[in-house]
Amino acid sequence: MSLSELEFQAAAVEGAPEQAVEGRSQWQLTWRRLRSDKVAVTAMITIVVMVGLAIAAPAIAALVHHPPNIAYPNTGENAVGNPVGPFTNGFWLGTDDTGRDLMVRIFYGARISLFVGLVTTAVATVAGVAVGLIAGYFGGIVDAVLARFTDAVLAFPYVVLALALAVVLGPSLAVIIGVITFFSWAGISRIVRGQTLSLKEKEYIEAARSLGAGPFRIMFIDILPNLLAPVLVLATLYIPAAVVFEATLSYLGLGIQPPTASWGNILAAAQNFYQVAWWYTVFPALALLITTLAFNLLGDGIRDAMDPTTERLLAARRGRKARARSRKNAAGPDQAPADTAGSASA
């Protein structure tokens, strides 16, 4: 806090003694710092625009008179039946292989992607926080069972299970959301459990117990506000992961089924046409890239705007990743065994 702010506060106190002075909460401080971060602000605007376009997709379809699932064999395909390019015959971003408006389909795809991303992250965050809090606070046998279950979920080869489930249950939006949620809560739960283990030893928790507060009041009133910061950062980073996971499943044909548009199934269909219709691949890929990048950059921005505890938490993770990378490099197949030994000893 700068000197002028302090002086301003002091002046406010002296000038209006009967008016209550409101302390700035952690969220207010974070918001102030976040607003001054150009990258984070750009990311936020991008996300708002993307969400706006997704919501407005039917309106855009009406505006260009191209419903998402209607093929236009005459205007949307050229003489040999290939897609037409951007700004041809009223198709702003060109068409796909059956002559449908690519732009409209991308915006409809955004509805699916963002819906899956936000819903799975919301459910996974609530579940992860609840499991982590209960495991961390109660400890003992409860913790042993929940923490081992969390470990099992984290250790599971989730792509394999997702594919198997999609095959067995049949691909549908509900299955996708269920699968992604099931594999997302565990990471949040583990972080929350660790934080809870350290927070529950604080003296203010003992103070709450001495006042007669029950376990759930302590968990949700006393502990939860102290770990919302890392959880929020983590949740922001889980949204793009869920978006990419949905695109992956749809790309593999086990997610959203055509003719419903999703970025994954558009990209899957486009791969046969990349030589004749670059826009067919580039624009949905760009949409995916911009969205995930925006969420990741926003997550980074929130993390930087948060308290030092969060920075330490994520710095430790960065350290682990860096060490894993160096191990991988050390054991790389392109290096001679002598080199490997040398770098390992160094």
Binding site: S25, Y204, E206, A207, S210, A213, N226
Partner: protein, 361 residues
């Protein structure tokens, strides 16, 4: 039985107890020491409190002193019902409150409050001061809405805080102010007993005096009873009516403040008192410190007999064999009890004995 008749019975029980608010009988608290891993065998016990009895008269202050690891805080937490008791009994206002379930303990929580040592750790940094002080009202569902806010502001004013600051966060207050917030929270439900666990040891001296004076004012105005834990002997002398000295989970000596401070009978008390810094430089220079050898022994494996004997300048063979009972020694008042086979006599030079013992171990 109706509530009123129950209350009447309680009142008669109180008056027959010569007005003792809190009584602790032979309280024992062992913490198990377990091996790591899934099959956690218990390999020993930390004997944090080992058979302590004490009584706090209504409206008085009992000072509890002893060095780190003597079991003061554990005893306090057992009385407050924050730790389950291994054996023994805690009686509050005539009722046995030993190891009550959380729900059965709730009515007593309103009567017993704690003030904690660390003014930085005992307030939730993410919650506003108004919400922290209102916690007792919220948990016991006594006062709500605007009335709650008014009561919180009253409390803040009572402990010397600006009531307009109820919307601030603990980080915006100084250490002394934070401790006042803790006092306001403890005071909210008008308890009978406040357990002060080293309430001023984290504060600097000028602030200590302010908080101690505040506690004294509150005791006078509301008839509070204090259990006051500290390792600063001068602070305890200032606030206490009677003093209990603990060493390694046992009571070494107890009595009225003046009796313990003027004529300490246990060598440990004498050593503690000789180590307290004196404000007068002449007195400090002429004073002889009793310097003890070694550290406080492990409470997992305490010494046999008198627990103080390995460090005691007066220790003899008997001290290592037989546990001295806590009893009145010759020449002391009826409330001055000492657990020592060979209590310190008037005019005895313990410092020299301690020095001699250090020379030839």
């Amino acid at each position: 039985m109706t509530d009123e008749s129950a209350a009447a019975v309680m009142t008669s029980a109180q008056s027959s107890q010569d007005d003792v608010l809190v009584r602790v009988d032979n309280l024992v608290k062992y913490f198990p020491v377990r091996t790591a891993g899934y099959v956690r065998r218990t390999v020993g016990h930390v004997q944090a409190v080992d058979g302590v009895s004490l009584a706090i008269p209504r409206g008085k202050t009992l000072g509890l002193v002893g060095e780190t690891g003597s079991g003061k805080s554990t005893l306090a937490r057992c009385i407050a019902g924050l730790l389950p008791v291994t054996s023994g009994q805690v009686t509050f206002d005539g009722d046995d409150i030993t190891n009550l379930s959380r729900r059965k303990m709730i009515p007593y929580r309103r009567e017993i409050q704690m003030i904690f040592q660390d003014p930085y750790g005992s307030l939730n940094p993410r919650r506003r001061v108004g919400a922290i002080i209102a916690d007792p009202f919220a948990i016991h569902k006594t006062v709500a809405g605007n009335e709650r806010k008014r009561r919180v502001q009253e409390l803040m004013e009572r402990v010397g805080l600006n009531p307009e600051h109820y919307n601030r966060f603990p980080a915006e207050f100084s250490g002394g102010q934070r401790q006042r917030i803790g006092v306001a929270r403890a005071l909210a439900l008008r308890p009978k007993l406040i357990i002060c666990d080293e309430p001023v040891s984290a504060l600097d001296v000028s602030i200590q005096a302010q908080v101690l004076n505040l506690l004294a004012d509150l005791q006078r105005d509301y008839g509070l009873t204090y259990l006051f834990i500290a390792h600063d002997l001068e602070v305890v002398r200032h606030v206490s009516d009677s003093v209990t000295v603990m060493y390694l989970g046992r009571v070494a000596e107890e009595g009225s403040r003046d009796a313990v401070y003027r004529t300490p009978r246990h060598p440990y008390t004498a050593a503690l008192l000789s180590a307290a810094p004196a404000a007068d430089p002449d007195a400090a220079a002429s004073r002889q410190r009793i310097i003890l050898t070694g550290d406080i022994p492990s409470p997992i494996d305490p010494p046999s007999g008198c627990r103080f004997h390995p460090r005691c300048p007066k220790a003899r063979e008997l001290c290592g064999q037989e546990d001295p009972p806590l009893e009145v020694k010759a020449g002391d008042g009826p409330t001055h009890l000492t657990a020592c086979h060979f209590p310190v006599e008037a005019g005895e030079n313990l410092a020299a004995a301690a020095a001699a013992r250090r020379e030839s171990p």
